[in-house]
């Protein structure tokens, strides 16, 4: 894991002092709310329905057990005992007082964490594949580059007041687990013909009101040019991005309106002119940062674990857990374990302080002290021995953390919606809960197979509904919560935006509608091996629409 050196620690301390002073001036009244709002957002402080919300960055989703314990401590001391893991590898506290935020920031700084640029019209927390560094299918760990971008983008003097927020995501594997094609910039680690490793560059993806898939503007970017090139994209966007309309201000609109070729030309021209700007990465520094992310010392073990096999045959629930929650690790005899934060009737992404402490204990004991947060709002123990899985499983069960539904219909991505969010048009959490209850039968969900349901409480699409196999968008129609349904979206390397089924459904009807879609899939699929998304791509909307909107007899 990355560790702060003196410079990093000093920087965060300066930032905390600066923000503390800004809070004091706001409380004293010398900063107006209009002046303060962009400043507080730039440090992750929102004003939500009930209280302020503080968003903590978990850079590229990696954290230590000590950092997780700090979250638990903050949740208990300054909040109501829980926190919410988001789709952007952040943690949100829902109830902190503004006057307590400086103290919380000092607690976070003590464990090398911060809230810098978790909101605002600036470069946001850089995200990455939650399996980075552990997954068997990876070309190279993208996190050192995410860390370099994190550093370079922190309090950037030129790019702190962009037209709109700016999100960068990286993936090191051909399977895209970081949804890079719906980010402002997506970097994918690739190998060129000579075997040299660099990045394919995607620009202009995004969700929100106008969902657009990113364009690949460069096939291969040498590692050394990562910051230089990113700088050029940002400069073109800062100067040319629209500022006349908040809903047209993201870079995706600029790319869409001017065309990917025009943007490529502008970026390449700036990049060519900028080459001497001191941003070229020396290999020595890449190596130095990369060394922090070395795989922990895991001795290879037998590929098959006798303990696991014995339990698998005797315990069907454990067998399901293995099938859904464990992913192949680089090192034989190990696995990448996803802990689902989606129990039946739970709040997707929420964890109590006790659960956080428990996950920290498990990481310390079984996973080289490391945890990950996924954009699906789950927690990952990245380096566990297969032999330890039965013990970990029992321990998770005892703490209500053993849901065996990773990637299934009840593993729902869901934003906070109108229960918390000031921008929401409808509630999203109760819909997720109702769906999880409707599909609580593990045999049935296993039979349905891979199915991503994603729910947003407004058009901002924090719940990624556009790229859900089944997407649900909560709207307000004349004071009534109404839910629009989309089908066929996908966030992975075969990225697609879902199609709207037709008129929306009431809160009472939306769960039936989801069930109708699932039943239609089951009756039309060629077999269990044809997943929902594959079936949808073959069948199109027609059979689903017919089932959903039966004319009144």
């Amino acid at each position: 894991m990355y560790r702060y050196d003196e410079f990093d620690a000093g920087f965060v301390a300066e930032r905390v002092a600066q923000f503390t002073d800004q809070v004091e001036r706001r409380l004293a009244g010398t900063l107006s709310e209009d002046q303060f709002k962009p400043l507080r957002l730039m440090n992750g402080v929102y004003l939500q329905l009930h209280a302020y919300m503080l968003r903590v960055a978990i850079p590229y989703g990696t954290l230590s057990s000590r950092q997780m314990r700090c979250f638990a401590h903050i949740a208990r001391t300054y909040d109501k005992g829980y926190g919410h893991f988001t789709t952007r590898q952040n943690l949100q506290f829902n109830w902190p007082a503004l006057k307590d935020v400086p103290a919380i920031l000092r607690e976070l700084a003590a464990v090398e964490m911060h809230c810098i640029q978790t909101s605002g019209n600036c470069i946001r927390n850089t995200t990455a594949d939650q399996f980075a560094g552990a997954a068997a299918d990876e070309i190279e760990d993208p996190r050192p580059y995410a860390e370099i971008i994190r550093q370079w983008s922190s309090l950037h003097p030129e790019f702190s007041f962009l037209p709109r927020k700016f999100k960068i995501a990286l993936t090191g594997a051909p399977s895209d687990r970081a949804a890079i094609q719906v980010h402002d910039i997506g970097y994918q680690v690739v190998k060129d013909a000579m075997g040299e490793v660099g990045f394919a560059v995607y620009v202009g993806g995004g969700q929100g009101r106008t969902p657009l898939i990113a364009h690949r503007i460069r096939e291969f970017l040498p590692k050394a040019d990562l910051l230089s090139y990113t700088n050029s994209i940002l400069r073109v966007y800062n100067l040319e991005g629209r500022r006349d309309n908040k809903f047209k201000a993201r870079i995706k609109i600029l790319v869409h309106e001017k065309g990917a070729d025009a943007i490529r030309e502008a970026v390449e021209a700036d990049f060519a002119a900028n080459h001497d700007a001191g941003l070229t990465l020396p290999q020595g520094e890449i190596d130095r940062i990369t060394a922090y992310f070395t795989l922990p010392d895991l001795a290879a073990r037998p590929q098959v674990s006798a303990a696991v096999e014995a339990r698998r045959t005797s315990d069907p629930a454990f067998a399901r857990f293995l099938a859904r929650n464990v992913f192949p690790h680089k090192v034989p005899g190990h696995g990448v374990l996803t802990v689902s934060l989606k129990p039946t009737d739970g709040i997707p992404g929420d964890a109590t302080a006790e659960q956080m402490d428990h996950l920290a204990d498990l990481a310390q004991r079984y996973s080289a002290d490391e945890l990950r947060v996924s954009h699906e709002q789950n927690i990952v123990l990245p380096h566990v021995r297969l032999d330890d899985l039965p013990a970990i499983y029992d321990s998770l069960r005892a703490n209500d953390l053993a849901a065996d539904n990773v990637g299934l219909v009840s593993d729902i991505i869901c934003c906070p919606g109108l229960d918390y969010c000031a921008l929401a048009t409808a509630r999203s959490i109760p819909i997720a809960q109702a769906i999880s209850k409707r599909f609580a039968e593990p045999e049935r969900t296993a039979e349905i197979g891979d199915l991503r349901v994603k729910i947003s409480g407004c058009i901002n699409a924090c719940g990624h509904h556009h790229v859900g196999h089944i997407g649900i968008l909560g709207l307000d129609k004349a004071g009534q919560e109404t839910y629009q349904l989309t089908l066929g979206g996908s966030a992975d390397e075969r990225c697609s935006i879902g199609d709207i089924t037709g008129r929306g459904f009431s809160a009472e009807r939306i769960v039936d509608a989801v069930e109708t879609v699932v039943d239609t899939y089951l009756s039309h699929r060629t077999g269990a091996e044809e997943s929902f998304i594959d079936a949808y791509r073959r069948l199109g909307m027609k059979p689903f629409k017919e089932a959903l909107y039966v004319p009144a007899a």
């Binding site: 410079f7 019209n121 309090l155 950037h156 400069r235 800062n238 500022r243 520094e285």
Partner: protein, 164 residues
């Protein structure tokens, strides 16, 4: 409005000078121009075009003879001026005074300085009060990217700097 330069309030050396907008200036180039020459560039003005024009039409860098460039921040949240300033200093090699005008607030002044601004016209009363109290712009002294203030490398990361 007060004029702030080099860490202190000062008398504006260009007070009363005629100020040309970017488009006016381009229009009038080649004819008699006021002296000293003071420009005000609004966000959206294409500063890189200055270089092209300079080379094509005048055979030199476009900003020769300009004594002061004011870059406008109509709202502090409109950040185009930062890139405009950066490009003037780096790509166009402009060495004269570069002044931030408009919605100039204390919390953004260090960012402006790091993008090459060395003069400020300030209206906001709380900002004036802080500066009168002797507050310095340099609240942050460690940077993760090269800036245009006096800065020295911090360690071996080429993107990390300390204020000099």
């Amino acid at each position: 409005m007060r004029y702030f330069k080099d860490g202190t309030f000062a008398d504006d050396p260009f007070a009363g000078a005629e100020t040309l907008s970017g488009p006016d200036w381009l229009e009038r180039r080649g004819s008699a121009l006021p002296s000293p020459l003071v420009l005000q560039l609004d966000p959206g003005f294409d500063v890189e075009a200055i270089r092209g024009l300079g080379q094509e039409r005048f055979g030199n860098e476009g900003l020769d003879g300009v004594a002061c460039v004011k870059i406008a921040f109509p709202k502090f949240t409109d950040g185009r001026g930062y890139s405009m300033g950066w490009l003037l200093r780096t790509r166009l090699g402009y060495a004269g005074e570069m002044r931030a005008v408009g919605d100039v607030l204390y919390d953004e002044m260090q960012l402006m300085a790091r993008c090459g601004f060395d003069g400020f016209e300030i209206v906001d009363e709380p900002t004036l009060a802080l500066l009168r109290d002797g507050r310095r712009l340099e609240t942050i002294r460690r940077f993760y990217q090269p800036g245009l203030e006096p800065e020295v490398p911090a360690g071996t990361r080429p993107w990390a700097r300390r204020s000099a």
